[in-house]
């Protein structure tokens, strides 16, 4: 009887005793979970993701919780949609359904800004290789520079699942920090004269047929040139085609609301579930966060420098600040450009131009990832 009571009591106290004996990393992660929840709830930093990620992190770091073991809730969610990349792709359908590519179609050359804004990916790839990461891990880390959470998760879950947690947390954190990271770089790289350049207003010139055919054409072109990235581009364009067709309003609405919301919850929880202390707290995690920061900075540098080149080539008709919007963080990066432009001239409205560049950045980030995967495939590495 006494023995039975003792084993019963042991069952009740084993979690606490684990915490005190070998639960140091778990305690640190519980504090990180609290910080993520604080940022999401109090500061409203990407709350849709940081709240489930933070809670998943909290759940998995309660000692002996078994939630990430076979049959555990978080493991089921992970296997259901991250291990097979379904969740990021479903989110892409929702993103496509939400985006209006009209401002990009008004001036398609803005897509080139979206290419320049991906430089951080390739710069970070070299950096990660120099720091000793294996090739596929370096590629997965570099994709943080796409400033695109679902793309980063899609690539990391396939080619570096052991780094999925730091990569996805870094990707979403830096996306949220774009309004803090970008402005100093934009100011440092432009002259006061360049910052006040007014761009000609955009004339409405896109027909409904063009908007409808756009997602099909993009899918065909990128699918032919970079087939390994077709799941990414195909899903985002499926969402956009449904939106522009106007005949499947229920599907469009479900994609951008119910499906996107449910998947975001599952995705966040599952990512949080990968943040178990003993696996997460490694020097590599800090290095990934550092490289992610550099990646976003280099995206901004390349975008603004490209803007300066275009400004020179067009005889001063393009404000170089819009180059900073050539990343995937939509519509945050476009808003940053608008705010910075108005800081130096209250009557300068760059928002529509920046929105075009920003949607170009969204396509650019997916194209960059697709091109990378296709090159890897060509080199026989995947």
């Amino acid at each position: 009887m006494l023995e039975s009571l003792q084993t019963g009591l042991y069952g009740l106290t084993s979690g606490v005793s684990y915490l005190f004996s070998q639960g140091g990393p778990n305690v640190i992660m519980l504090l990180i979970a609290a910080a993520l929840l604080y940022l999401g709830v109090k500061k409203e930093v990407e709350p849709l993701l940081l709240v489930p990620i933070g809670f998943g992190c909290l759940l998995v770091n309660i000692p002996l919780s078994d939630l990430m073991e076979q049959g555990g809730l978080l493991r089921i969610l992970y296997d259901m949609g991250i291990a097979n990349e379904v969740f990021p792709l479903l989110i892409f359908v929702g993103i496509g359904a939400m985006i209006d590519f009209g401002s990009l179609l008004e001036n398609p050359k803005m897509l080139l800004f979206g290419a320049a804004g991906q430089f951080g990916i390739f710069f970070t790839l070299l950096l990660a290789l120099a720091l000793g990461f294996p090739q596929l891990e370096a590629v997965s880390i570099a994709v943080i520079g796409a400033c695109d959470g679902p793309t980063a998760i899609y690539v990391a879950s396939q080619y570096a699942p052991q780094l999925l947690a730091p990569i996805s947390v870094a990707a979403y954190s830096y996306m949220a920090l774009v309004p803090i990271i970008q402005p100093p770089i934009m100011r440092a790289l432009t002259t006061p004269k360049e910052r006040v350049i007014k761009m000609a207003p955009i004339k409405r010139s896109v027909s409904p047929q063009t908007k409808l055919l756009f997602p099909i054409v993009v899918t065909l072109v990128t699918g032919l040139l970079a087939p390994k990235g077709l799941p990414l581009m195909g899903t985002i364009m499926l969402g956009n085609f449904m939106r522009e067709s106007g005949v499947v309003a229920r599907l469009t609405k479900a994609s951008e609301n119910e499906i996107a919301n449910i998947v975001t919850l599952f995705l966040g929880l599952a990512i949080g579930g990968t943040m178990e202390g003993h696996a997460f707290l490694k020097p590599a995690t800090l290095m990934i966060f550092g490289m992610g920061f550099i990646a976003i900075c280099m995206d901004t540098v390349a975008g603004v420098v490209f803007g300066k080149i275009v400004c020179k080539l067009t005889g001063g008709k393009v404000n170089p600040l819009i180059g900073a919007a050539g990343i995937s963080a939509f519509p945050m990066a476009a808003r940053v450009v608008q705010v910075q432009g108005q800081r130096y001239d209250k009557k300068n409205h760059l928002l529509m131009h920046a929105a075009g560049v920003n949607t170009g950045g969204q396509i650019g980030s997916v194209v960059a990832a697709a091109v990378m995967l296709s090159v890897l495939k060509g080199m026989g590495l995947i």
């Binding site: 398609p108 897509l111 070299l126 054409v217 090159v375």
Partner: protein, 49 residues
């Protein structure tokens, strides 16, 4: 960084960045073409004055 890693990194940089620019440039041309083939018809523009 050893030679193989440099080769890999620089290949990815050149082909990756170049491929991204090329793909997006082609897309921009196709989008321009689409706009030409399907121009915006302003409401009332087909009516005779």
């Amino acid at each position: 960084m050893d030679n193989a890693k440099w080769t890999f990194g620089l290949t990815m940089m050149i082909v990756g960045m170049g491929g991204t620019f090329l793909t997006l440039w082609i897309l921009s041309l196709v989008m321009d073409l689409l706009k030409k083939v399907f121009p915006l018809v302003k409401a009332g523009s087909s009516e005779k004055k």
